[in-house]
Point group: C3
Chain length 418, copies 3
């Protein structure tokens, strides 16, 4: 037995040395969760003063574990950059629970109040709508094998035959706990703070997708970035779908809020949305019995094929902007659900590799990309919170200049998909 | 960072002050679980002497967390009132595991021995019978969106269309962990002890039902009460179904045990039960291969529309009684399952807002009530344990006097439901 | 209250005394998990020197709990017998994660890297293939109510009617946490070390099967044994299926590895396997896009109806052998899945009470055994790791001598099952 212990000790010492040797001395690094090392930090706090004493803005990161009801054991990391604050849940696929800056909140009031542990979610329930029992994040990713509506789709099973499986609403990734989570902080200006988490959607005889997520911000700034890298770690080609389901409610959304984007083409997803296509960019006040309206958008990009969209309040003095490369994320879905407050008053602005139709439809229209064995793609979105009429107006100008004098095609009827 | 801490401190102090200011000084109050405050007490004990020193009967409450197999992490609260003892599991929707008083036990010997954590239950499995993998409580609630048999039913989905979903046996509520659990004890006579727990069956695009449960007892008494309040916290009208599935086995149930009630109308649920309608009130000894017999009863009420039922042993010197208002809970189901001991020898006496048919049948017969947005209903049942021939005979007299000379209609064949 | 405490104390003392009185002084005994006593040891270590000071070989047992991702809270017991090492996971039905001896490893590289907690497995997902999301053990049991492919099968439901349920791939047992786990070590030579765990597949209105598993080894040896006992603790007759899914990858499996057995009859399970029947005993190198080939074997036994099979590497100097009684386990399935390394390069040698066809097929062919109420069966397999050409050759000789001059019938086409 003793020799085992000694072996272990030597090994550990060696690993520790390697780790130090490899470490970038310009970066602070802390592992919070690691399934490869069977490690998990329950409670933890980091103060900017201790890591970046020269940084003029104080910042902090805390890691806690939630208790009670369906959220027992759920892990949350909260970042305060000195100006804005956000919270990420490793247990729920590195979803971002909320972002706040002063009186602006990115987020919404879902009827689901707890941060629900995936163990209490059965994606198959309610005809494949079980995902809705945990849905309350500001931003949750939808995918990776599929996203969009539930229903039967074909797949190749273990014996090489075509079989049928039930796709479930918006896929699995938001209900998979992250396997490796770390905090990285640049010790030099501008002292960027990064929360990274790897979420694996992997199985035998199925997809082998690793999603390396990152949300980062610079102390004192009103901006943050989500930058993900998706890798097919299997040997065979693999389809994927990714939708960034960013949801906004009270705080930015109100009767008279508007949405702006540089739009090449917009279409309603169904007959309900078709009736409302004329006012796609204006929001109603909370409306009892409102049925969701979904609009499918091909945005225009600038010279670098980047686009920017915004949601602004009625007074046009509070706004959020989202900017990304259309090379990485070509499509945008706008989901209007201006229902009664208690039923969930919310709009989703959802950049994606596809529209949230059933995967079989998206495949037919050529919007289900594939990754070869070992191949990876990057997807990143920049977010900013804009306060004050001038700032919001400037942002609106930026979007108009992307559009330029290019035409917007408004399709009045839903695309025939059968 | 510091200013955040100070803010938090001030806020906390303020909340604490409010809490004290609002507190009823005549009541002892302890929060055991609170998802809104991310709190959970793992292990805890309360002794009557410390809280109610003037109470002539000593009592105690303990809170523990179970270990091993499928019960790892399951929470249980045990109350001893000095005469009777009962245990409630917050993890299993505030179900009541057992009640004992001397040699009388309310409860049964299910083949399921562990108190199963909901994370190990897949309600959809076995064609919607997965609920049976955790079923061993004395009393578990069935509902809230639906109860009764599994099978496809219609619902309105997220796009406003009528869709089909699989209802699962007896619904979700028994497998949802309570979000807010507290102990309240009156410091003045009769020193009532209350265990309260709120269980939420809420989702986006679905029911938004909050069930505030309460089980209470007075130290030294042979009685206890379950008093629940169900609120539709959504904005839209919502159907619900609630069945109190109270189960009795060895201890009260034996060959020759009888069931008594004031019955206006009784019907068999199916052909199997129809054959046994003539002896609906008498129980068999454990019988290998026995197939369940279910009887559907419209009870008579007294002048205040309250009814009482009882189950007594063969010697008629041990009994349990259940009393409630038919305004709150109009129906009663008797489930006879006098199978072999090892397969589960048990009868369920089940007051409910409906019968445990599939919801589509109950809806057709007008037995699926609705709650408007914000509306609430109360449902309460009083239980007592009766020991000794005289006491049991008196109880039987009470039930007979509710019936009076009113007729019982015995329907010989099951109601046609198609 | 005090009297309760005293009662408890006396009771505990009595239990402790009983336990000592009953204890076999020739055996070391430690309970690690017990749901009947609500006990669980999180972390624990045992050193051979302390228990068997006279044993010439040092050995150790450790119990840990894993962290991170889907393996948070998973329990693992690791045994080092001085020569070989193996790990068992109580959380995953006492499955054996790996066995190693020097450079020989029993196990494989699944794309699933974490030891997945059953709470993250939905067996019903992907058309009943959810089991594949946790599949990475060296040996996992498949059963108990059923194993084999998914699909609808008949069963008798709670009202005594024939109903249909979805069988899921390979059943539930590998995803049920063990209820009672203990370590037993003989204090006398040869100092056998036993890890025992009881896994219950029990429900109301369904199977009531208790599986007492045991894996044991003698310090310093190159052998170990799995010895299980399956009991129907219900009162009614119950079907069961058991398959020991032992999986081998890199380490023993390579291009040119061969499988040897004494074979009476071998058949391909389907058309894909039929094409490869001529080389059923030789393995390919990792092959991108390889579709699984499954062969169904009736082995020959020796005079005591025991059989032995082996898998050896290309150089024929490393091998594993498996020996068992055909009275206990009559069938053998060979699963060849020599896919790309990253997709899972593996072969399964799977002794079973049945073949892994859908249960309805196995039932038709009389290969679904039943246990009467209270009845039990024993199933045991001996494993050995063989190093060096001579040892491997001797083993091959043993298998050939079981075959003797008896004929092998090779069925070229799959059996018609419709």
């Amino acid at each position: 037995m003793k020799q085992f212990r000694i072996c272990s000790f030597v090994l550990l010492a060696f690993v520790a040395f390697q780790s130090i040797a490899n470490a970038d001395h310009h970066k602070y690094h802390k592992v919070l969760i690691s399934s490869s090392n069977s490690a998990r930090v329950k409670k933890w706090e980091l103060n900017g003063r201790d890591v970046t004493p020269d940084c003029p803005t104080n910042w902090s990161i805390t890691k806690t574990t939630l208790h009670g009801g369906k959220q027992e054991g759920v892990e949350v990391i909260t970042v305060k950059n000195g100006k804005l604050e956000f919270a990420v849940s490793p247990t729920r696929g590195m979803g971002v629970l909320y972002v706040t800056q002063g009186d602006v909140r990115l987020g919404w009031d879902s009827p689901v109040k707890e941060i629900v542990h995936p163990r209490h979610i059965n994606l198959e329930s309610r005809g494949g709508l079980g995902w809705l029992e945990g849905f309350n994040e500001w931003m949750c990713r939808c995918g990776l094998e599929s996203n969009g509506g539930p229903g039967l789709d074909k797949f190749i099973n273990n014996v090489g035959d075509e079989a049928e499986m039930q796709l479930t609403l918006h896929g699995k990734i938001a209900n998979i706990p992250a396997s490796e989570v770390e905090v990285i902080v640049d010790k030099k200006a501008p002292y960027r703070i990064r929360i990274r988490g790897r979420v694996d959607e992997k199985m035998f005889y199925g997809p082998k997708l690793e999603l390396q997520t990152e949300i980062s911000t610079v102390p004192g700034s009103n901006t943050f970035q989500i930058a993900d890298e998706l890798t097919n770690v299997g040997a065979s080609e693999q389809e994927y779908e990714m939708l960034y389901h960013a949801n906004y409610g009270k705080g930015l959304l109100e009767g008279g809020s508007t949405f702006e984007a540089a739009i090449k083409h917009i279409a309603p997803i169904n007959a309900t949305a078709a009736k409302a296509i004329g006012t796609y960019n204006v929001y109603k006040a909370p409306t009892l019995g409102f049925i969701e309206e979904v609009f499918l958008i091909h945005p225009y990009g600038d010279d670098h094929n980047r686009t920017t969209i915004m949601l602004q309040n009625k007074a046009k003095d509070r706004a959020v902007s989202m900017s990304w490369s259309l090379d990485e994320i070509p499509y945008l879905t706008v989901w209007k659900n201006t229902a009664a407050m208690k039923d969930g008053y919310v709009t989703g602005l959802e950049p994606g590799t596809n529209f949230p139709n059933h995967r079989s439809i998206e495949r037919k229209f050529g919007r289900v990309p594939k990754l070869k064995g070992g191949e990876k793609v990057r997807m990143a979105i920049d977010f900013a919170i804009h306060v004050g009429g001038k700032e919001v107006q400037a942002l609106s100008g930026d979007i108009k200049s992307i559009q330029g004098d290019r035409k917007t095609t408004v399709q009045k009827e839903p695309t025939k998909v059968d």
